[in-house]
Amino acid sequence: MFSHNGKISVSQVKILLILQMFNTGILLLPKTAAHIVGREGYVLPIIALVFGVAYVYGIVGLTEHFKGETLVEFTPKIVPKGIAFIIIWAFAIKLIITAGLELRMFAEMISRVMLPKTPLAVILLSMLLVSAYLVKSGIEATARMAEVLIYFIFIPLIIVILFIVFKADYKQLMPFFQVQPLAIGKGAFLISLSFMPIEFMLMLTGLMEKPEKAKRATLVALVIMSVIEVIVILVTFVGIGVEESKRQLWPVITLMQSAQFLGAFVENQEILMMTCWVFSIFMYVSSGIYFVSLIGSRVCQFKRENVFVLPIIPLLFFVAMLPRNLAQVYLYYMNFQYYMGVWFLLPIPLILLIITRIKKVGGKYE
């Protein structure tokens, strides 16, 4: 751990990435997996790892040429300034839209399960303002918060899962090996989009104390996340059934609701999952705000990183409030992830990496 130098450690990067990937997507994952390949959906995260590794090599392969620099600094060195400007702002806009939709999904879920009478705007603003407060103190504070929250997220989750696995109907997974390879390929690609927060590494590597370990840290986070995803899909399938996983909007919450605790005096246990997940969304939204603010500050060459934190809040709030209802936000969320999710994961970093190598720019060649 480092004190107030604006740098974060390798383990903090791993934790941050894990928490960022444990977002709304995780609650929808069993539904997506069941829809694409049915009862064998649990294999998708493992195959998605292949895509994930490609994303890591594309992104970290690019950033390791420019130690201590973020997307804002190294893009103008690779492509003409005009194009670099478009890429940087496209990334910022993408982060705003993703975080906004994520926020709205979060608010819809909270409204449905925990606070049915509270206006969505109140839930959204509460989360946004708390996130802004955290982000105001910089990346170190966010990383340290992640180090604390990871225990609050995963320990209750492990306890709940343990209660489920002993009573689950494992025959739900049979028959095995009935799925078409093409469906597995398509499904693995879709599931790999749940690794989207890896794109934060375009900014985060430049803030690492040891950027040479960025690839290893990202790969470790990726493998851990894949294992978590496999467990979540498996447990959901054996807990509520494959067909019900397809039908339910939030199958993981339905699963938590179905869990039986000994003695049956504990009820409404889905709140446990919600609590873990709120922390995780908090980390995702905080990171979204932080990186957009960082892009703004670095583009404008401001010394302070948090100048843009408060101006971003209304933008995120606007994006979150834009969809008219849950059906629309779900459609926007899935479509945005499907059509826009991959751009900063592979094509753009890969093109920039190829140009970097052709032009021989960056630390490796200087």
Partner: protein, 386 residues
């Protein structure tokens, strides 16, 4: 402390007052906790009305007086009050019940859903009920679901000497892990949905009032495609439980050389396999029961249990288990409803073979499918040594 610091503390103190509770909270003692909900089809609704005005549902909400239940003084006379609502939908009935209760109604601790006979016979209403109950997360998927003859509302309104609240009775009944599992298969709302998704077939435990006017849970309602096919008696349910490997604490009484011998099954396991000998596929159900001889008395000294005689007893008990399971198989074949999940097992274990049977399983396939029972009895304790 400087003036500025004091000013900083003021908003913090203010927040401590503001953030300590919800602005629209309802205290627990100001809520009506619905412990059981009886859902019936309203047989007297007017079919000539527009469909959104047809009050097809008849719901009976049982509102317990929590103060009376916990032995405190209460203004109410009865430990529970039942309110029956006729409504076009379940959600509309909730809206209406709020006009008839002093406190807010909550389903967060509902223990039992009891469905009447007529609603089980109406596919659309029954499917709509299940859909509504799971649509919003108001009612937990861990809520027990049961069926009853006639009107469910009448059952919940009646007195029950052991526990006036049917919901509590049901919860205690199924939570009791020491109770033998023998006559009814406990079902949660979630497990019923899972079974209906898997095979379109499920069984609901049957709750009835017996001649002594006490509640009894035994037997079941057989549901196929969200419609009641028929009622299953306790022996058939026991056969189903044997095949599912869920039998526990069940006494088997056989006639051994003119005297009653009781063997209590402590635990039971079941394994369904399929083989193809001689070009014909058949199901083989292996049932392994572990238990003790819990009661046997004879005046005939020649009939005292020796190791040879224990072998005879084992064979006798195996025949008894086989007969009980065959009864369930015969009933399922007569009704032509595979509630024993033989087809599902075949699909799971031999998916390619299942393709041959899938198309005609529900017409002639299951009816003509050979099923063999292979019971094994393990006697751990004879109760006496000779």
């Amino acid at each position: 402390m400087s003036k500025l610091n004091k000013l900083k503390i003021l908003p913090l103190v203010g927040m401590a007052f503001l953030l300590t509770g919800c602005w629209d909270n309802v205290e627990l003692n100001e809520r009506h906790v619905i412990l059981e909900l009886a859902i019936d089809k309203n047989l007297s609704f007017n079919e000539k009305m527009p469909i959104n005005k047809q009050k097809a549902y008849k719901l009976t909400y049982c509102i317990p007086d929590m103060k009376k239940l916990s032995g405190q003084e209460s203004l109410g006379d009865e430990v529970k009050s039942n309110i029956t609502i006729e409504a076009a939908s379940i959600a509309a009935s909730i809206d209406e019940i709020e006009t008839k209760t002093q406190d807010t109604v909550t389903f967060s601790h509902t223990k039992a859903l009891i469905l009447g006979e007529e609603i089980l016979k109406d596919r659309k209403l029954f499917q709509g009920t299940i859909e509504t109950l799971t649509r919003d997360m108001a009612i937990s998927r861990n809520t027990m679901i049961l069926a009853t003859h006639g009107e469910a509302g009448e059952l919940t309104k009646g007195d029950n000497p052991q526990n006036p609240l049917v919901g509590m009775y049901v919860m205690k009944y199924f939570n009791n892990r020491e109770r033998p599992v023998s006559y009814a298969k406990g079902q949660f709302l979630g497990s019923v949905i899972k079974e209906l998704n898997d095979t379109s077939i499920t069984t609901l435990p049957l709750i009835v009032k017996n001649q002594e006017d006490t509640l009894q849970i035994k037997g079941g309602a057989l549901i196929k495609d969200y419609e009641l096919v028929g009622w299953l008696d306790q022996e058939v349910m026991r056969g189903q439980l044997f095949i599912e490997g869920k039998i526990k604490g069940v006494p088997l009484v056989v006639d051994y050389k003119g005297d009653n011998l009781t063997y209590t099954i402590k635990d039971e396991k079941s394994k369904i396999s399929f083989d193809n000998k001689g070009g014909e596929w058949k199901a083989r159900i292996k049932l392994t029961s572990v238990g003790d001889i819990s009661e046997y008395f004879t005046l005939n000294k020649d009939a005292a249990l020796s190791s040879e005689r224990i072998e005879e007893v084992k064979q006798l008990l195996e025949r008894e288990v086989k007969n009980e399971v065959l009864k369930a198989i015969a009933t399922s074949k007569t009704l032509n409803v595979d509630f024993l999940n033989i087809g599902l097992e075949m699909y799971r274990k031999h998916p390619n073979q299942w393709k041959e049977y899938q198309s005609n399983w529900q017409t002639t396939g299951y009816k003509n499918f050979p099923i063999e029972i292979e019971p094994t009895i393990i006697i751990q304790n004879t109760g006496a040594i000779q």
